[in-house]
């Protein structure tokens, strides 16, 4: 039975068809005096939140294997009382019960018996256990393929499920559940860092068998002579000599992508088997959007996930990455969602990226500016090992933080922001095949124990690629995003795994391409052109499919840099030249959102029932004055009357503002 669902691009939807925007903040009940819970919940409501979120730590509630405490002795562990107080406060609740939660807890919320169990801990390429050299205590990283991990997790879920089940909406406040947490090799993004344990290698071989069906087909792709899938060993670094050696290495990355999703499928099903169902199941990748992480793949319906978001903890100076991430989610996900967005920062260990309220004042509205529709602020109630939240552990208000959320939530509510649609003509797709290829080309990985510059790890053999892919790809991708922002283009982002249906509605798709591009992605792009769109490629025309077999859906570009295809066309950008890019944009009828804006200003616009609102941001240290092309009425972020006159606008340093266009 579905009690709560997801309304595409809007928020949560209830059986009466009421849609509620998903704007929540994190409150760790067990870290706060229970006598303060009710008052803190009142303060959360006073900031304009309608939902709160909490982890539920396995390691905290388990007192010995299979025995659990939920407040019988320690009031701070009384989960059900907390849930009921949330309900009584008129708030909704999002739960994140693990098994992995991190939560800045020693052992990341697992019971210690789990993270020191050799049958559970993953292994590195060296054969060593994957140890998280954390402070104040190092511990092992569990393998997502460990059979024993799921057996032990079942004990936790058996104990917790009845509490969750009887508090599901509408009987209780629980409206969504996160399946595991930041499942992705514990921040180890390199392909060859893990997971080489016996269980994982079994999964790897199963994956290969599913992918190829027979060993004969695999041997044809690999150019190998394996007798069976059982004899295939996993690569531990890149040792290929020619381009045709790549599929074996790319499959290892594909396996790791699948391993994450398969883990989430299993854990999600474990909840359903225990009666916890009928509410959205979601997940949060920890930050990157390339291999082994992929929102398109994880949301494709095969893994039982309704929404997959990406976490972010940026300083304001990192606005290029943050804006692109929000735009990626807007172009990709059913509900563009950041399940953890930094509201304050952890303090164990102290992190050089520590950010303050000045950062949050800029980055929070920036996310929505680029299309985000759902967010959870982590943490809105401060606690042990955290700093800079709007409410302290003893329920005092940090006024600048508190006011930020109160004002922003007021804007979102007053303008029903979740009902507005980001306008985009251009779709920028990250090339997932290229990014996966780069992961495969590592001789040695940067490791938590020994820093090596990222570039130092790539293979040098130029018979693989006659150019430096590790230099060319990031250069093109960075130029692409900077160009789009600087020229104020109306856009969305995603990656080349995006289904064709989600490409529709754009005038042009722009992908940085090299030799390799998945056959399905190539066919989608061709179809997009045939049906009237412009596909902008380059610097190379894709000529190989995902198995490195010759394939190009763009053969018309062999004889020129532009070709008409059906009702649309292909355009090839062979070298980075802004004039050529501009020509391609004009030829695709991609116009700037607003004419005459200074290039340093960021702009996006949203539409609802014919009305238009503009977001204008100044990501710099200096004031920027300009005269807009139409009359604008300030809606948010303009508190000083001096910045808005009849003749022009002056955007303050590091500000995001919202304006309504008046015709």
């Amino acid at each position: 039975m579905s009690r709560v669902g997801i309304e595409q691009q809007r928020g949560l939807v209830y059986p009466n068809h009421q849609v509620e925007p998903w704007i929540s903040g994190t409150f760790h009940y067990w870290r706060v005096n229970p006598a303060l819970w009710a008052d803190i919940l009142d303060n959360i409501k006073a900031m304009g939140f309608g939902m709160v979120e909490t982890y539920i730590p396995w390691g905290l509630h388990e007192i010995e294997r299979g025995k659990f405490e939920f407040g019988e002795k320690e009031p701070s562990k009384n989960l059900e009382k907390f849930i009921q107080q949330v309900h009584q406060a008129g708030l909704k609740l999002v739960v994140r019960p693990g098994p992995h939660i991190n939560a800045e807890l020693t052992c990341f919320g697992y019971p210690p018996r789990i993270v020191y169990d050799p049958a559970i801990v993953a292994k590195e390429a060296s054969g060593a256990f994957s140890v998280h050299d954390a402070y104040p205590k190092a511990f092992g990283n569990p393998s997502y393929a460990s059979k024993k991990l799921y057996e032990e997790t079942a004990l936790w879920f058996d104990a917790l499920a009845p509490i969750l089940e009887r508090n599901l909406y509408p009987n209780g406040p629980i409206v969504a559940l996160q399946v595991d947490n930041e499942t992705g090799y514990y921040f180890r993004t390199g392909a060859y860092l893990m997971d080489y344990g016996d269980d994982s290698i079994r999964w790897y071989r199963t994956f290969l068998e599913k992918r190829y069906g027979t060993i004969k087909v695999l041997n044809e792709v690999y150019g190998s002579h394996h007798e069976s899938f059982a004899t295939i060993e996993a690569p531990r670094c890149f040792e290929g000599e020619k381009l045709k050696d790549l599929p074996y290495y790319l499959d290892w990355s594909r396996y790791k992508e699948w391993q994450i999703n398969e883990c989430l499928r299993i854990i999600g099903n474990m909840w359903r088997e225990r009666g916890v169902d009928g509410i959205p199941f979601f997940h949060n990748f920890f930050g990157p959007t390339n291999s082994p992480y992929n929102t398109n793949d994880a949301e494709n319906g095969d893994y039982g996930l309704d929404v997959v978001g990406v976490d972010d903890y940026p300083r304001k100076e990192q606005y290029l990455t943050t804006s692109r991430k929000a735009s990626y989610l807007a172009g990709t996900s059913k509900l563009p969602f950041i399940p953890e967005f930094g509201s304050g920062c952890w303090c164990l260990p102290l992190w050089e990226n520590t950010f303050t309220v000045e950062d949050e004042r800029f980055t929070t509205p920036l996310l929505f500016m680029f299309g985000l529709k759902a967010i959870n602020y982590y943490m809105i109630v401060e606690r042990d090992r955290w700093m800079g939240s709007p409410i302290t552990v003893d329920n005092k208000i940090r006024a600048p933080y508190f006011d930020l959320y109160r004002q922003w939530n007021t804007f979102l509510r007053n303008y029903q922001f979740h009902q507005w649609d980001l306008q985009s003509d251009l779709l920028i797709l990250a090339n997932y095949d290229t990014e996966r290829t780069l992961k495969a080309l590592k001789l040695v990985e940067n490791h938590f124990l020994h820093f090596l510059p990222e570039e130092a790890g790539y293979q040098e053999n130029q018979s693989i690629f006659p150019y430096r892919l590790e230099e060319e790809h990031p250069r093109w991708a960075e130029n692409q995003w900077s160009y789009a922002l600087k020229h104020h283009l109306p856009l969305h982002c995603s990656d080349t795994l995006l289904p064709y249906e989600k490409m529709k509605g754009h005038k042009a798709v722009w992908v940085v391409t090299f030799e390799i591009l998945d056959k399905k992605a190539q066919e989608n792009l061709r179809r997009f052109a045939e049906e009237g769109g412009t596909v902008i490629l380059g610097p190379l025309v894709p000529s190989l499919d995902e198995n490195l077999h010759p394939f190009s859906a763009f053969s018309e570009l062999k004889s020129g840099t532009e070709a008409n295809i059906g009702k649309g066309k292909f355009v090839l950008l062979q070298k980075w030249d802004e004039k050529e890019v501009e020509k391609a944009m004009i030829g695709s009828n991609i116009q700037p959102i607003m004419e005459g804006l200074p290039s340093e200003i960021l702009v996006t616009h949203f539409n609802k029932n014919g009305k238009v609102i503009y977001f204008l941001a100044n990501p710099g240290d200096k004031e920027v004055p300009f005269t807009p092309h139409c009359k604008l009425i300030p809606l948010y972020g303009v508190t000083d009357g001096k910045v808005f006159t009849q003749r022009g606008i002056t955007l303050q340093p590091w500000s995001v503002t919202v304006w309504e266009a008046v015709s």
Partner: protein, 246 residues
Amino acid sequence: MIHPDVLFEHIDITHARHFVDISKIAQPNPRVLYVLHEKGKVLKAWDSQKGRTTIGETIKPSLTLAEELRKSHGVDEVQLIDQQGFRDYYKQALDLTKAQELTGYDFKERTRQLKNTQGEGLIIHPPRESYDYYHYIERSRQFVAQKLKPDCIFLLGVYNSKDWWTSLVAVFTAGQITYFSTFEYFPMEKLGMSDSPKTHEALIQTAAQTFKKPSFGMFLPKSDFEKYAQNQWRGLGQTPLLKFPK
């Protein structure tokens, strides 16, 4: 030195950021020549400042060669990393039993020491005293052992003009830190006049009375703290340590 269940509360985020910033000024950050090889066959040579570089197709790894390369490439440090040698290092360093036995800091220290004992498989020349961000650990330990008591409070207050620039409150229990905060812990009225000896005395007195333990305090201007931080892991500083009770 830090208890596994240590509490961090009342952390002033600006003070924390300044603490991080000041610890960065003494980062080792040497210019390094990385040479990846497989039993002497060079796979890649990378200069951390210049990028890709060449050193020939094969090497015979040794300290003598590392010193020659250090001079000829004008770098501070040379790392000769054999693929198998590097894996052998990880096998030793990532010991799950040791992870369970040791504190996180001792585990890290063990992994650091093992880098310098890998023979020709992993040569780091000259060997560093520290490889990462946490190079204050050893000096901090000496400071605690020589100047503080196993059960006490330690306050650090660094001021800039009349304001507190960064601060620390550490509670020691049986030789381990069990509680961390910044001066946000104290009522605002106790924090006025950051450069005043009267304020400093009042803070250590308040801390001693609140936590019911002897209290020590180090209060110094930002410029002096910078000098102390730049000195990396040598010396325990010249600033007098205040005590309550005296």
